[in-house]
Amino acid sequence: MALVEAIGVRKSFGHTEVLKGIDLEVERGEVVCLLGPSGAGKSTFLRCVNHLETIDAGRIWVDGVPVGFRAAGGKLYELRERDAARQRRDVGMVFQRFNLFPHRTALENIMEGPVQVLGRRKAEVGAEALALLERVGLAEKAGSYPAQLSGGQQQRVAIARALAMKPKLMLFDEPTSALDPELVGEVLDVMTSLARDGMTMIVVTHEIGFARSVADRVVFLVDGAVVESGTPSDVLDNPQQPRTQQFLAKVL
């Protein structure tokens, strides 16, 4: 079974329907890039996968578990927030605006989840957190507060913070859009190596180069619906739909 299975996902804010029945499957170890114009619903879909938004219709399954529900006796029971939190442990998320905890050092940011959520011992978590900082190339910044780090460094710490929970799935919502151009590369490098290590990833991005070289599949979203989907070379070099062609003409 696929790690992520989204079937007919619908979501409205007030009277505007933002997701109009999204179907998407992501296999284990697969990297899927979500592309599309502003307002297409890319962020909203990602947030639904992590149950930061509730969906109005359809179903999302992550690793066989219905997101936001508990299956029992042929029924789906809506989860209380406490239990929803437990589901989110397995899904890491990286935000456009980093959202590091400003009152904690880089190392403390990374340790926060394992210690506070999983209740693990600080000594053991500290060593892991240092190894993660090393992995994102920031071993020497362990004691720095977010305000003392560049945008690219903050985003790499944010990735390490998500990885500290040992997630099955990583969601990235435009992780490089808030960065100065010269800092984009260092974050994409970390993501590329993560993909090489076999992490399952859904990445919303405008970095076509990244999608081309790292993604196994590119999904093109317009107005809350999937317009086109396929391998990077199919969708990026040989788009069939006029909306995709228009968008790529502008971005490339």
Partner: protein
């Protein structure tokens, strides 16, 4: 060219004349004069200055001091706890809780503290017993001592202000912080405790410090229901020896000591939660 000549002028060795500030000298002199005048009239006044230190450490005064401190700390502490609860209700998704919080703040902030203290103190006039049917029942005038009435009057009023302060603090924390906390699997309570409250503190502490200083002084209102706080203690002393001003000055000195200590404490708290 014109600009060239000006450049040349500047290069000459010209004497610099600093701007003089005659008004600083004049206003400074006026302030010093006024202070000297005040000091002189104080020394000429009909006050037995030598008696003030005695009243400062008088056993009755010290009892009043202790009662003032206990009342202020208890009322402020209770107000902070209640304020957090009411602020959370005010921000909750439950409309009944939201409206309750709005009404609570409206009522307890809207009435003068003195009036609230008097109402609590006189509660026995209208409710002879305080009871939950089937659980317990106690006579109101046994429970509603002067201390309890003052505690309720001061604490509930303050809790309404604290609710607004805490709400402003919680709202000042970026939404992204809560989302990041959720995304690593934090429960709402852990998110509040570990992520939101520590950041809200920066907004919450300064006005809370100001309010606590007001609370210290506000305890003096309990004197109207004969609670032996500082002012009532001062009156007790002076009713025997008629040295009214001397005892009031001794009480005044204690207020200044307490307020100074509170200000210093506030300073360190602000530094502990300050920006990184």
């Amino acid at each position: 060219m014109a600009s060239d000549t000006r450049m040349n002028d500047v290069r000459e060795d010209l004497v610099v004349v600093p701007l003089s500030h005659p008004w600083r000298w004049i206003s400074g002199a006026v302030i010093v004069l006024v202070l000297a005048g005040l000091g002189w009239s104080m020394s000429e006044a009909q006050i037995q200055w030598e008696d003030v230190p005695g009243f400062f450490t008088h056993p009755v005064m010290l009892e009043g001091l202790l009662n003032t401190i206990v009342l202020a700390l208890a009322a402020q502490g209770g107000a902070i706890v209640l304020g957090v609860v009411v602020a959370l209700m005010r921000l909750s998704a439950n409309p009944v809780a939201r409206w309750f919080a709005v009404g609570y703040i409206w009522l307890f902030r809207g009435l003068p503290v003195l009036l609230q203290i008097l109402i609590w103190f006189n509660l026995a006039l209208v409710f002879q017993n305080i009871s939950i049917p089937g659980l317990f029942s106690v006579p109101t005038n046994v429970v509603m001592t002067a201390f309890v009435a003052a505690l309720l009057g001061l604490g509930l009023n303050e809790s309404a202000y604290m609710a607004e302060i805490v709400r402003a603090g919680l709202s000042s924390v970026d939404e992204g912080q809560t989302e990041a906390a959720k995304s690593i699997g934090m429960t709402p309570l852990t998110t509040l405790r570990r992520v939101v409250l520590p950041q809200a503190m920066r907004v919450i502490i300064p006005p809370t410090g100001n309010n606590f200083i007001n609370m210290i002084k506000g305890t003096s209102m309990a004197s109207v229901i004969a609670f032996t706080e500082l002012i009532h203690a001062a009156n007790n002393i002076s009713s025997r020896n008629l040295e009214i001003m001397e005892t009031l000055f001794a009480a005044a000195a204690w207020y200044l000591v307490m307020v100074s200590l509170a200000s210093i404490g506030q300073h360190y708290l602000e530094r502990a939660y300050g920006p990184r």
